[in-house]
């Protein structure tokens, strides 16, 4: 970022390639379609460009980036244009309007044991569903922690919350996830769930 402040555009390209994937997956969990997610991610980077002169090395760049993205997502949700992103099969996106089963099949690795592959697909569907069903506060904390690999302190700074609040939200999110996955284990037997990595 310091290099880009001096006018090095290639440095900004490095920043984009380092953060765009995780940022895309974060934003994609908050908007119903990939087109909106694309606009929001582009707007995040443009705000970074416009505010590059004000950036100080004391702030971690990923934290700053997530703060901008979260604010944009929050504003987008307040405008009422955000539909609840229920599940992969209901979420329009770049991958097209595929039915849930096709998407899961595409996501799950086809190789190996067919039974194991089917279980992985089911787990992914349940995780995706559980994350999408989380409240926004719990979801953003869960995604920041698991997707963006941020510490609880950084999450607290990005969300303008206290660290115990962040941990409490994370605890609730994990409890929901655990319940969802437990149901799956109850349906397929505990051995199937235990065998997952």
């Amino acid at each position: 970022m310091a290099r880009y402040q001096k006018g090095d555009v290639s440095a900004f390209a490095e920043l984009v390639s380092r953060h765009e994937k995780r940022l895309w997956n974060f934003v994609r969990r908050f908007v119903p379609d990939s087109a909106t997610a694309e606009d929001l991610v582009q707007e995040v980077f443009l705000r970074v460009v416009r505010s590059a002169a004000d950036w100080r090395p004391s702030a971690k760049f990923s934290t700053w980036l997530l703060t901008i993205a979260r604010n944009l997502c929050t504003d987008n949700a307040r405008r009422g244009s955000v539909r609840r992103a229920d599940s992969l099969e209901q979420t329009p996106g770049v991958a097209g309007d595929e039915p849930r089963g096709h998407r899961i099949e595409r996501l799950a690795a086809p190789g190996g044991n067919a039974e194991r592959a089917a279980l992985d697909r089911e787990i992914a569907v349940r995780v995706d569903a559980a994350v999408t069903d989380l409240p926004v506060e719990q979801r953003e904390v869960f995604l920041m922690r698991e997707v963006m690999d941020m510490s609880f302190a950084e999450i607290a700074a990005a969300t303008s919350s206290s660290e115990p609040t962040v941990k409490s939200r994370m605890r609730y999110a994990l409890e929901r996830l655990r319940v969802a996955l437990h149901e799956l284990a109850d349906e397929n037997g505990p051995a199937a769930v235990e065998s997952t990595p």
């Binding site: 984009v16 940022l23 895309w24 697909r121 787990i123 609880f152 655990r178």
Partner: protein, 473 residues
Amino acid sequence: MNCAQAKEQLLDFLYDELSPAARAAFVEHLRGCPGCNAEVASHRRAIGQARAALTGPLLQEPPARLRLAVMEAAKAQASSARKAATADKPGFLARLWRTPWLLPAFGAASVATAIFLVRVLKNPEVLPGQKPRPIDEVTLAPPPSAPRPAAAPAAARPAEPELAEERPAMVESAPARARGSAAKTPGSAEAIAKKARRGVRSAPLPGLDLEELGSGANVPGRFAQPPPPRPAGGKSLDDLLSDVGSRRKAAAPTQPERQAPGKPAVKRDDSPPSWDEFPAGERKEKISKPTSRHDPFEDAYATPPPAAPSPSAMPAPGAPPAPGARPKPPSYAPAEGAASAPAPAREPPAAAQPVRAPRAQAAGAAKLEASEEMDLDDLAKDKVGKGAGADGPSLAESVKKAERLFASADWDAAAAAYRELLRRFPGHKDAPKWRERMHLSLVAVEKARTAKDTKAGKAAKAKSSVEGLNGKE
């Protein structure tokens, strides 16, 4: 640790944010608590499955056009930012115009420069750091065309070294002033000294030599009076006096011997009187006189004590006139018997008059000039002291006679009378007036002589031309 405390620390344990001691206590509790142990295991499975799904099958790649759009926007933003920075940067004149203090500062500097230029143009000698020098601090030297006597040797004027020693201290020359001002401001001493030198050299006063000022030689005193008015013809009074004396000597080449034969010649005391003999006003004038300049009036003060009037002082009527000598005016008709004994010429003082040699017109001019003062004195005694005793006539008589001579335009006699008065009563309140009248009389004598010489020269020329024509015929 109980189960409630373990439940509080469950999240930190799962994400490894417990301190080692707290982690050890938590593990110890898990070993003894199957319920807590099962809950921890369940959470670990859920986190593992979610992480695997989110970073595996659920991880999406952003569209390629997003990166292109972002980079295009970044480049455009960077270029526009550069353009904006270039456009917003005002030019040199614009920045000068926007500087709030610049215009007042420029105005003040302009006014200061204008004042300085006006001062310098009005008086070029006035430079910063140099006080204006009053014009009377230095005496203007005469133009180079006027002949100047050479510096008198120290032997001729024994009192002069004292004055010469005093003079440099009293005359603060320009370099000395520069040094003084430089000493006051040590930071720019050399600059100020240079400026002072430049100022003096750039506008030198006529006839004023800086080197002479610096050495203190040939410099009139600081409080020197301006030189006496120069008579017509461009000659100074001392020149006139010297000429008068030499002509008179030429007219009377032989003088009666005042000294008895065999006796050593009594040297006239040519040195000026002692310092204490001068009244205060004359001391000042004395100080102001240059060492190398010969003032004829010094001789008037230095005339020897009055001697008995001698008719032999006057030239013999039958004596052949010296070339260039003028006839004596009627009032100076020689006394009877003056031609009877042509006395041998008086011995001139040996080292008294080397300075006057250049002015002499004939070979024996030095000798004649040496006795010039004596002749004048004798003349004055003849004119003034007739019928008086050894001490001469009284003051009233002398004054009356001098005034009568002056009124009757008998310039030569008047000059002698006033000289005698000045000699006898130097501290009299009318001494300045006598001195002025003596000057005027001498000037009148010189004028008359010049007119006569011109007339005689023309007549001789006409005569020679007529004779030449006759010879040709």
